[in-house]
């Protein structure tokens, strides 16, 4: 009743009701089932499941590689979005369409393709191996796969914002004597920062949950290259349902906190750029 007062648009009641229903059915109820199941074998089992050394190593890898991949995606994604928006070149439409391909490709296919490329006798791997760089079956390989998956999220978040940014402001900055670097850091970057953060959050979240592409390239060695989703599946196959959900709960809570943090950050950075 309280929120209703501010609304000038009609239909708040039904749409809000639908929102709550949808969120409950699709998100909250399944998730609460996960929480419930994880507590079914007691606190002790929960604690043991999430504390065993290979699980801790997997958390480290999952969060570490996802973070690295999201950061790389932000850097490269920004660059690609910039090129796609600001320059004209032959084959631009094609390049633009290519960006979406990782969305559509079954992730297992991506994983198998990346693995055959990067193994020691693969097309790329054979040139990297003499340099002492091993990609497939190492944490580096995991990061490569996650970057592949995460990149389009950043590009597609940044692209429209960059396209909408006013060129006048940049021109004004230039005419007022700002250097190119100053124009970039003081004028362009603040505009796209919220979009970059969104892209980062999406890429990061997607990377945390990614399974299909990673299991092929990871090699799945305990303590070295096992990701958390793989351990969850392994635990399920050992009929340890509550252990599997325990891992999932930790993953969920951590991800939720991280995403909440990113959202708050985004809100703050938007406050600075948008006119009140």
């Amino acid at each position: 009743m309280i929120f209703k007062r501010q609304s000038i648009l009609p239909g708040f009641g039904p749409t809000f009701g639908y929102t709550v229903l949808y969120l409950s059915l699709i998100v909250l109820i399944p998730l609460s089932a996960v929480f419930l199941k994880s507590s079914s074998s007691g606190w002790n089992h929960f604690w043991q499941a999430i504390r065993s050394p290979n699980v801790v190593a997997a958390y480290r890898l999952s969060f570490g590689a996802s973070l690295a991949a999201a950061l790389i995606s932000v850097a490269l994604g920004f660059l690609i979005a910039w090129v796609l928006v600001r320059y004209r070149f032959p084959g631009k439409a094609l390049a633009d369409a290519l960006v979406d391909l990782p969305f559509a490709l079954p992730t297992a296919v991506a994983g198998i393709a990346l693995t055959s490329l990067y193994t020691e006798n693969g097309w790329l791997g054979r040139y990297l191996a003499p340099l002492g760089i091993k990609v497939a079956f190492t944490p580096l390989g995991v990061t490569v796969a996650l970057t592949f998956i995460g990149l389009p999220f950043v590009i597609r978040s940044v692209q429209p914002v960059l396209a909408d940014a006013d060129l006048d402001v940049e021109e004004a900055a230039a005419s007022l004597g700002a250097s190119r670097w100053q124009t970039f850091t003081r004028v362009i970057f603040p505009v796209v920062r919220p979009a970059l953060l969104t892209g980062f959050a999406l890429a990061f979240a997607r990377a945390l949950g990614e399974y299909g592409s990673v299991i092929f390239i990871a090699g799945n060695l305990p303590m070295k290259t096992e990701i958390v989703p793989l351990l969850i599946v392994t635990k399920l196959e050992q009929y340890d349902y509550s252990g599997a959900t325990a891992l999932a709960v930790v993953m969920l809570v951590t991800s939720f906190l991280l995403l909440l943090g990113i959202n708050l950050l985004q809100r703050r950075s938007r406050r600075f750029t948008e006119p009140a």
Binding site: A49, S52, P53, N54, T115, S116, T119, E120, N121, G122, F137, I215, G219, N220, L221, P222, M223, V233, T234, K235, L236, E237, Q238, Y239, D240, G243
Partner: protein
């Protein structure tokens, strides 16, 4: 009018359905695809000749543990033919789908055919791999799936353990050292047997694949005798992949009789010969004699002799915190 037609067509559809072929679902593990293709065709023919009823058998394949979990979660399997007894034990323990004594209902511990673990190496055997000891040498890449998810990999692990135990006169500590060194040589742990075969054969990773004997033969024939060869170790484990009807599901479907006949067919001379043709070691001495030349002779020990059965082996080696976990965790 229309509703009447609809009703009539619905009724005929039901009648047709009821008179249609009997349907069976056989839920099996990874490398048995080719075997059951042959078995299903032969059994359907025999059943039709005997009873006049068509039987349509569907197959489901995957890692043994995963398959068993699918059945617990409600996959409507009339028959399970899995990689190891533990995966059928849980059907009784967790879901009460089969009686506790399921394994004593059919001859040979419900195992119509057996297999063992052998080595598949690259042509010419460049790393001179002859026996288990050669697998722990530095610079040898060993390919085997994760024992936590793959039935075949559990047999491989236990074969290695059994070898080390025999060699060191029952010293478990030495056996643990041996398997630890062996798994240090494993660069990739796939989740199932087929995945490992692909890693070894198609991707060219590693020097030796620990494999089901039947899978090794299959790889040899499918991928080329000019590329690989089989090395039989001096000693290995007698792998016993058991079969059972899933009593509750079969009773619900009314397929108990045909499912029992299907399993019986596996033990018949015809079934045994199909098994042998697909490189499974048959129980029937007649089929074994006929195909003796394709199976090399080696000493085989059973899981009951060395490990005291699957329940014990599973708990000690593969459960969380078991010896397999310690292989990868530094420290004691």
């Amino acid at each position: 009018m229309t509703s009447k037609t609809l009703l009539i067509s619905a009724l005929t559809a039901t009648a047709l359905f009821a008179a249609g072929p009997v349907k069976l679902l056989n839920v099996s593990y990874d490398p048995t695809r080719e075997l059951y293709q042959d078995i299903d065709a032969a059994f359907a023919k025999q059943w039709k000749a005997k009873t006049g009823v068509d039987v349509q058998i569907s197959q489901s394949h995957g890692g043994s543990g995963k398959q068993s979990r699918a059945v617990i979660d409600g996959l409507q399997a009339d028959i399970v033919t899995l990689a190891l007894a533990y995966d059928i034990d849980v059907l009784s323990e967790k879901a009460n789908l089969v009686p506790r004594n399921w394994q004593s209902r059919l001859p040979h511990n419900s195992t119509p055919y057996t297999s063992t673990i052998v080595f598949l190496v690259r042509k010419g055997n460049p790393k001179h791999i002859k026996d288990w000891d050669d697998l722990v040498k530095t610079g040898v890449g060993v390919i085997t799936p994760n024992p936590k998810t793959s039935g075949g990999a559990r047999w491989s692990y236990l074969a290695a353990w059994g070898y080390a135990l025999k060699k060191n006169h029952g010293d478990e500590k030495k056996a643990q050292e041996f398997v630890t060194r062996l798994y240090k040589n494993v660069p990739v742990l796939d989740s199932g047997a087929r995945g490992s075969t692909t890693t070894f054969a198609q991707r060219g990773i590693g020097d030796v694949l620990l494999s089901w004997e039947n899978e090794a033969f299959l790889a040899l024939h499918e991928l080329g005798k000019d590329k690989f060869e089989i090395v039989t170790p001096s000693i290995s484990i007698l792998a016993e992949p058991p079969v059972s009807i899933v009593d509750k599901v079969a009773a619900k479907h009314g397929t108990t009789e045909v499912a029992k006949a299907y399993l019986g067919f596996l033990y018949s001379e015809e079934g045994q010969e199909i098994g042998a043709k697909n490189y499974y070691r048959p129980q029937s001495s007649q089929a074994l004699a006929k195909y003796a030349s394709q199976f090399s002779k080696l000493t085989l020990f059973t899981i009951d002799e060395v490990f005291g059965g699957w329940q014990k082996a599973q708990k000690k080696h593969f459960d969380d915190g078991g010896i397999f976990d310690k292989v990868y965790t530094p420290g004691p």
